[in-house]
């Protein structure tokens, strides 16, 4: 039973194991599952072992038991939106017309199908996910159709409340925030950062090393020789450099900074610097990039075991990176090409990464991203990317 369901889960990337599938059947055989609700909770708790996959599970479940459109993200959401839009339109044609920038008369002429077509047409026009624009559909924008928009008289699409059958609960997608592709929350980043550690013996020698004591005692012919060791402490030095110039970086600066501050106690030393677009001869300790400049030469002299994390979208005009005196700020005329400065940083710090908030599949379209990628290993600023970045930083 449910073998198809099991394989569907596997196909969509939920790590499920045959053993757990058998356990689920044990539960079924014992008559523990009497309704679809029971099946939903028990299947989830037995098969899925991380909240990151709850969302996928919900979608597969809804698809399998309700025939909801497949958990192909786009499809699912568009259909949901379209349905909700249709409902709103039926209730209140006037505001709908306003929202779509159309005459009410004009709108009346459209059949529901045509309306949805129009809606999907707009969706297709956009070639990337867009949050916060003025025309296209996305979240938080001013476009008339979309989620949580600000358009006056605009309408809210999706997120209608439903009553609670298992399939409906699954369709609620309550665990969206925890999924791997979901937004980056502080808790999740904190989890990833915890792995950034490097245990080094420090402090006084006050721990008895029993194995060594026995060995040395035996070598001494039974004369007791107690060997002491130092405690292991995490003594990692970390430098983070944040691109805080320009609106494109704004949403990320705060999150990243809070997080590294949060884990500050874990490191021996944590230094935060700021720059705009790319690094020339100077970095700044203050976020305004005005009061406390630090020369690059000084930073390069730090311990080469220091981990360097650079956060930036790496998107700029090519000359800013490649030309000597390419900086858009007049006072930053060091005479060196920025790419050389980056290279010298990469040479100094063997363990360095560049975190980029732009999605990986968009990187190829920006020339400067490709150039910088050849200097620093670059990772997307998402749970997945962050984990890979930490692994990179901890390579021997």
């Amino acid at each position: 039973m449910f073998i198809e369901f099991f394989y569907k889960l596997k196909e969509t990337g939920v790590p499920v194991s045959p053993t757990s599938f058998l356990t689920l059947h044990r539960a079924l055989n014992q008559g523990l599952v009497t309704s679809l609700n029971d099946f939903y909770t028990s299947a989830r708790s037995i098969l899925v072992k991380s909240e990151r996959y709850f969302d996928l599970f919900d979608q597969v479940f809804a698809h399998h038991f309700k025939g909801a459109e497949m958990p192909d993200y786009e499809g699912f959401e568009v259909d949901e939106m379209a349905r909700a839009m249709l409902e709103a339109w039926l209730k209140d044609p006037k505001s709908m017309a306003d929202a779509l920038d159309m005459d009410e008369e004009q709108l009346k002429k459209l059949s529901p199908e045509e309306l949805i077509e129009y809606f999907k047409e707009r969706l297709k026009d956009q070639d990337e996910e867009h949050h916060g624009g003025s025309k296209w559909i996305g979240t938080g924008g001013t476009s008339p159709v979309g989620h949580s928009g600000f358009h006056p008289g605009g309408m809210r699409v999706g997120g209608i409340s439903r009553n609670k059958s298992a399939v409906k609960v699954a369709m609620d997608r309550r665990y969206k925030d925890y999924s791997l592709s979901g937004p980056l929350t502080q808790a999740m980043m904190g989890e990833a950062l915890k792995r950034l550690r490097n245990m080094i013996p420090s402090g006084p020698k006050d721990r008895v090393n029993i194995d060594e004591t026995i060995y040395q005692t035996m070598r001494n012919g039974g004369e007791i020789e107690i060997i002491f060791d130092r405690d292991l402490k995490d003594r990692l030095k970390v430098i983070i450099a944040i691109d805080n110039g320009g609106w494109s970086m704004d949403p990320y600066v705060q999150v990243v900074q809070t997080l590294f501050d949060y884990t500050r106690a874990q490191f021996k030393e944590l230094k935060t610097y700021f720059f705009h677009n790319t690094i020339y001869g100077t970095l700044w300790k203050d976020a305004a990039r005005y009061k406390q400049p630090v020369k690059l030469d000084e930073i390069v002299r730090s311990d080469s075991e220091t981990r360097l994390v650079i956060l930036g979208d790496a998107s700029m005009a090519p000359y800013e990176l490649m030309a000597a005196d390419g900086s858009i700020h007049l006072e930053e005329r060091s005479g060196t090409r920025s790419i050389d400065c980056l290279q010298s940083l990469a040479d100094t710090f063997a363990h360095s990464v560049w975190l980029n908030p732009i999605q990986t599949n968009m990187w190829q379209y920006t020339q400067t991203i490709n150039t910088i990628r050849s200097v620093f290993p670059m990772f997307e600023l998402s749970i997945d990317g962050l984990e890979k970045a930490i692994t990179q930083l901890m390579l021997k």
Binding site: R26, S42, S45
Partner: protein, 284 residues
């Protein structure tokens, strides 16, 4: 839903508000005799659940607080060499020094295995320990027995305990470990659930006070860039403080005045930020 062998199933406890989904999962895990792994933000009641189960099913609760330096053997049994040495030197205790078994003390898992009754075993914050601990423990919990090397005996569990394991997601748990547990993630309670929780703790609380306090609480939780967001425990303490203050009127909260902020926010940075936030709100 399901009746467990001894005829009882878990339905909630006096001080614990249970959502149906979780009750379901607990009952299934008990019936399948599998450990239940709970993850979730601090303050979502992971630990409380085990207490509630113990109370509800009237089983003794045994708590194993995992520490980072812990070895599995510590949780199973201890061989008290020091007492034995002492006894062999000053033999006045009545124990038989040549019988090592007299110097074996049971650890928390050992206690749960050897108890007369079925017990609830809570393994709290498993993620603090290293992966070796987790993998070794898994074998013990799967076999329901362990060896005492010193006396070359195997201790088998008399009653299979109900095992609840909590994790704060500090580290990821290993795949084989996860494979042998059932899993649930407790989300932070929504306001509706929170009202029930508060009711359970303060049956006679003024409704105005409760509503305003909960609303303010969720508002404050959403303030940007807070390091440690207040959880249920903080809210309960805060309401206790508000309730105890004779000068306090629930209307003050609506006006944006928040007394006893220190009960909710315990990091000085957070405190400052929230204070700024609430004061700005009052101006407008």
């Amino acid at each position: 839903m399901v009746a467990i062998e001894n005829g009882s199933s878990f339905t909630g406890a006096t001080r614990y508000v249970l959502d149906e989904e979780l009750a379901n999962i607990v009952n299934i895990s008990m019936a399948l005799e599998m450990p239940l792994l709970l993850k979730g933000e601090p303050g979502t009641g992971k630990t409380m659940l085990a207490h509630a189960i113990a109370e509800n099913l009237q089983m003794p609760l045994i708590v194993l607080n995992v520490k980072s330096s812990m070895k599995l053997v510590d949780a199973l049994y201890q061989y008290d060499t020091l007492t034995r040495l002492n006894d062999s030197r000053f033999s006045d205790s009545g124990r038989d020094v040549s019988n090592i078994e007299e110097y074996i003390r049971m650890g928390k898992i050992g206690q749960a295995f050897t108890a007369e009754k079925r017990t609830v075993l809570l393994i709290d914050e498993i993620d603090k320990a290293d992966t070796d601990f987790q993998d070794d423990m898994l074998d013990v919990l799967d076999q329901m027995e362990f060896d005492i090397i010193e006396i070359d005996k195997t201790k088998a569990a008399r009653n299979r305990p109900v095992i609840i394991i909590t994790s704060n997601a500090k580290k990821d748990l290993s795949d084989p470990f996860l494979g042998r547990c059932n899993f649930h993630h407790i989300a932070f309670p929504d306001p509706k659930m929170m009202r029930k929780i508060i009711r359970v703790h303060f049956p006679s609380l003024d409704t105005d006070l409760m509503e305003n306090a909960i609303e303010t609480f969720y508002g404050l939780r959403d303030v940007d860039a807070i390091e440690k967001r207040p959880a249920t425990r903080e809210l309960i303490n805060w309401i206790r403080a508000l309730d105890a203050d004779p000068d306090f009127k629930p209307k003050k909260l609506v006006k944006g005045k928040v007394p006893f902020l220190g009960v909710l926010f315990k990091k000085s940075q957070d405190y400052g930020r929230v204070l700024q936030h609430t004061e700005r709100r009052r101006l407008f």
